[in-house]
């Protein structure tokens, strides 16, 4: 019993990470599937052309009914693999900071307690996810590049927002740092607004922040 109690935060972090990964994967997969179907039936060619760029990352993907299913699978897998470690990192951060000093809240609290977002863990985890996502996208283009062909001309446009970013191995690191910081700030903002809104709500029994 003692050892299982000792491992409880780790196990729950894994469980929550798995759930988050599945949910995020499903949402991203469904979004790409919907966009693909919409583009397929759309009269204008631009949406199809724009979505077709994704086939650089997702082989066999196309904005067609069959290709949209391939897109769903790719988007689901990619989002799941990105979200799983992100959520694990977040929940580990949250659960490790809980101290045992709080008062008892009763058995019903398990189903009625409202989660507040622990800002440092949230910003770090999702900042890392954003940074790693751009790093992966850049490195993938570099690896796939064929001599003579332009190297990631569209992704390179990000340097309009991120000065110094290039589609190269060094640029991938620069992009990682940029999105780690910018993604961290963005998601810290999301978490801050969320916590404010929760704070304004009548029932907000416990806080991740209280423990931290």
């Amino acid at each position: 019993m003692g050892s299982s109690r000792f491992n409880l935060p780790r196990r729950l972090a894994r469980l929550n990470a798995l759930w988050f990964g599945l949910v995020f994967g499903a949402v991203c997969g469904a979004a790409l599937w919907l966009a693909s179907i919409w583009a397929f039936f759309s009269d204008a060619p631009q949406p199809r052309r724009a979505l077709l760029l994704l086939s650089q990352y997702f082989p066999a993907y196309a904005p067609t009914p069959a290709g949209s299913l391939v897109g769903f699978a790719w988007a689901f897998a990619t989002a799941f693999l990105l979200a799983l470690p992100t959520a694990w990192l977040y929940y580990r951060g949250v659960l490790r900071q809980i101290s045992g000093g709080g008062e008892s809240v009763g058995s019903r609290a398990l189903t009625t307690a409202t989660a507040r977002i622990h800002l440092p863990s949230f910003a770090l985890a999702f900042g890392l996810m954003s940074g790693f996502g751009l790093w992966l996208a850049t490195v993938w283009l570099v690896i796939q590049h064929r001599p003579g062909a332009p190297l990631g001309p569209r992704l390179a446009l990000l340097n309009q927002y991120l000065p110094g970013y290039r589609v190269s191995l060094l640029g991938a690191l620069v992009g990682f740092v940029y999105l780690l910081v910018l993604g961290g700030v963005f998601f810290a903002g999301v978490g801050w607004i969320y916590n404010r809104l929760i704070g304004a709500a009548p029932a907000a029994p416990r806080s991740h922040d209280q423990a931290g």
């Binding site: 631009q46 307690a113 999301v190 801050w192 809104l197």
Partner: protein, 124 residues
């Protein structure tokens, strides 16, 4: 209740705490709206500083107009983009929170059923 039991209880509660779907939707919506507005505004300000015509700015970001009717890389388009960003972020947050809450609810429901069944079997 011992310190260890209190700790265990808090860990469980934090793990299964509900996300407020509307709040997550609003926060992601606000942040998403601001992000799209800022992305458009940066291009417009750069064009203004370089004395470029607005029509030539952000040909790739303009492609978003294919998915978000009415969106353009102009100041009015930035406002429309903000509304779209808010709407998409809101739907994303709402959906994510609802699905995560549902997964927690189903897991706890399954656990309760298992425990109830075990208690009944123990009583036989």
């Amino acid at each position: 209740m011992s310190d260890r039991e209190q700790l265990e209880e808090q860990v469980l509660i934090q793990s299964f705490a509900r996300l407020q779907a509307r709040a997550l939707g609003l926060s992601l919506g606000l942040a998403g709206g601001l992000l799209l507005f800022a992305a458009t505004a940066v291009l417009l300000i750069r064009a203004w500083l370089a004395d470029q015509p607005v029509q030539t700015v952000g040909p790739h970001l303009r492609l978003l107009g294919s998915f978000l009717p009415g969106y353009q890389v102009t100041w009015s388009g930035a406002g429309i983009g903000m509304l779209y960003g808010f709407g998409l972020g809101f739907v994303l947050g709402l959906t994510m929170a609802a699905l995560l809450n549902l997964s927690h609810f189903l897991y706890l429901w399954m656990l309760r059923r298992r425990i109830r069944r075990a208690v009944i079997l123990d009583g036989l």
